[in-house]
Amino acid sequence: MKHVLLMGLAALLFSCAPDRSKKNAEESPDQAQSTTKSAVEEVIANPTKGIGAVKSVTLKSPLEKERVDRGSAIYEMKCQACHKLTTERLVGPGWKDVTQRRHPEWIMNMITNVDVMLEKDNEAQKMLELCLVRMPNQNISIGDARDVLEFMRNNDGQK
């Protein structure tokens, strides 16, 4: 009987183990500095940049006008249906002052890696609880997301 129990336990252990190591392996690219903390743990400790390919963004002043114009066009085609430029929430939150509330990396990761963000990023999950509609993947490249970010900065009155 003891043996059976032990075998059962071993089976349980084994059935869980591969999953865990797989998760760690998936997340390892996000571990920028620490090798001991998982990406999720790091996000909890430092929720500012989000999860995704965007690690650091250089912002210029004055604003890059070409980016603002391109970002505006992308906004009208792919974002405006859910996001107003005021503080008013439509389907998603209004964009006014979003560049004050969020780091630029977080914004761009949210735009380009939304499914992972909604699954793992605390701040993104809070927004989902509030809005109750998952933000869709709108198939926006990192370059395009950078243009949208510049458009947001412009909307927030940055120069």
Partner: protein
Amino acid sequence: MKTHNKLFLLFAYALALAMLNGCKPKGPQEAITGNAAEKVYVAPGKYDEFYNIVSGGFNGQMSVYGIPSGRLFRIIPVFSQFPENGYGYSEETKPMLNTSHGYVPWDDLHHISLSVTNGEHDGRWAFGNANNTPRVARVNLKTFRTEEILELPNSGGNHSSPFITENSEYIVAGTRFSVPVGDKRDVPITSYKENFKGTISFIKIDPQSGKMNIGFQLKTPGVDFDLSRAGKGPSHGWFFFSCYNTERAYTLLEVNASQKDKDFILAVNWKKAEEYVAQGKATKSKVKYAHNVLDDKTHTATSEMLTEVLQLDPTILKDIAYFIPCPKSPHGCDTDPSGEYIVASGKLAALIPVFSFTKMQKAIADKDFEGEYEGIPVIKYESALYGEVKKPGLGPLHTEFDNNGNAYTSFFVSSEIVKWNVKSLQVLDRVPTYYSIGHLSVPGGPTRKPHGKYVIAYNKITKDRYLPTGPEMTQSAQLYDISGDKMQLLLDFPTTGEPHYAEAIPASLVMPNSTKIFKIEENNHPYVTKGEKMAKVERKGNEVHVYMTAIRSHLVPDNIEGIKLGDVVYFHVTNLEQDWDVPHGFAVKGASNAEILIMPGETQTLKWVPDEVGVSPFYCTDFCSALHQEMQGYARVSAPGSNVPLKFSTGVIADESKSSPK
């Protein structure tokens, strides 16, 4: 001792029972062996190994199943309207079903051909034939959509189609019903022998785009062409057609077209025919036929009427067509993977003749003919014959091949699949089918490199295999494992419509190329709305065009006023989503055609002719989000003379302190 005796008795009794059962005729249940379930189980989250593209027969569609699970993934509308996604109902897709006879909403699709390169599957296109109003269609295996339909002039019914050459140079369309063609078409039916002719169209396929056009037509004697296959390898450049009714009967064919012991296989040297066309030896025939193409950037189909086709006459150009006698009323005409052997299945024959391409060529070179039939040379049967499979079964129909030199022939009358060796002509195994098998399919079976592993039977009669659903039953397919010496029945699975021919292709050749969304940036629809800011309503005379957007979970505009009775309203709905598997639907109360379903990044149009004054709701018909039920709007329809201005909005709430507007 007593216990011993008792045990012995028990054992003997059990043995007797087992033996009794063993002697019973094998019922369907017993055909299944222990590990069948394991072999067809595809665990949640796992994928099937093969796509099975199956003709829908009288439903005019193709359906897509997974093998080995037998699960239905998709129905692709081809020659029939499909309410599920608005095909043939939306303004964009209506032109796909246009013909020289006008709009044909329903046809009969019998055979599938998947595109090939070097005789092997390349996973690009699936072709299908319309049997009734003769046409051929091309489905893109990236989008699983019908992209093109070409009508066939001078044809009385397109059965011997759409079989394909080994580099997808041509697909063919041989007429099943010979008919009077040309200027003199109002003739007595009794003048069949004099006036009725067949044609075989060779449809050229553009190697890049897949676009089809009729390269040339062969004029043939007035027989019925049944099925066909292209040569491959050494026989590449030739095409083989089975034909029946060489009696040229025009009534009670059941009896009158079954008189002769032998009908024919027609061997066509299409490379030679192509040369004659290039040399200007074809004549022009004045005709009328439709060519319909779906543009993947405008998401809109156009229909063009063509008026000319090139024809070759093999009774004048003597070296492009030869008849080979074949017993009796041949149906399937299948080329083996090596390209050397052509297997013809005489529906009424008690044997299967296997012809040799090498012997056929020698007979042609030696002019080893027994005479002519209607001006076309007839090769002597023995001179083209490799050998005969003796007593294979009753009613052979079709043959597919595996990768080990074996053939699998379906037998309608004796309800079985018979496995035999192509070289030795020996029968190796036979398994029953439930019931009355028609076509069958081995993955890659018609190619130079069959993938083998399974044979799938497509049966004509279902009877007691499923829970009954009244007089109309589902059709049945059955999956057999052919990886061992003996065929093993694994699975029954129900099918839609009536499956005729089907092909199976490894998922790895199709799955990685599957389109997930249409890029909104590349949408060139004339009525596209690329963002809510562009949404609007325009009046052009009595036409009202609504440029509408859909995204989770609202439509813009969702309040429309100023429509008048007598107007024709077009809702051009653009789905702004760019996420996989998020279609939106659109329906408006009283629309007499259907609904539409709009894929991410696509624009589709629903025409609505309001027939009463009032306010009609419209809404999204595809559950899209937690707030799907809120995805709705109103269109106000006023009396013809009313002065309600045209206006539209979303999210505008009236100031209730003022008196309500008129």
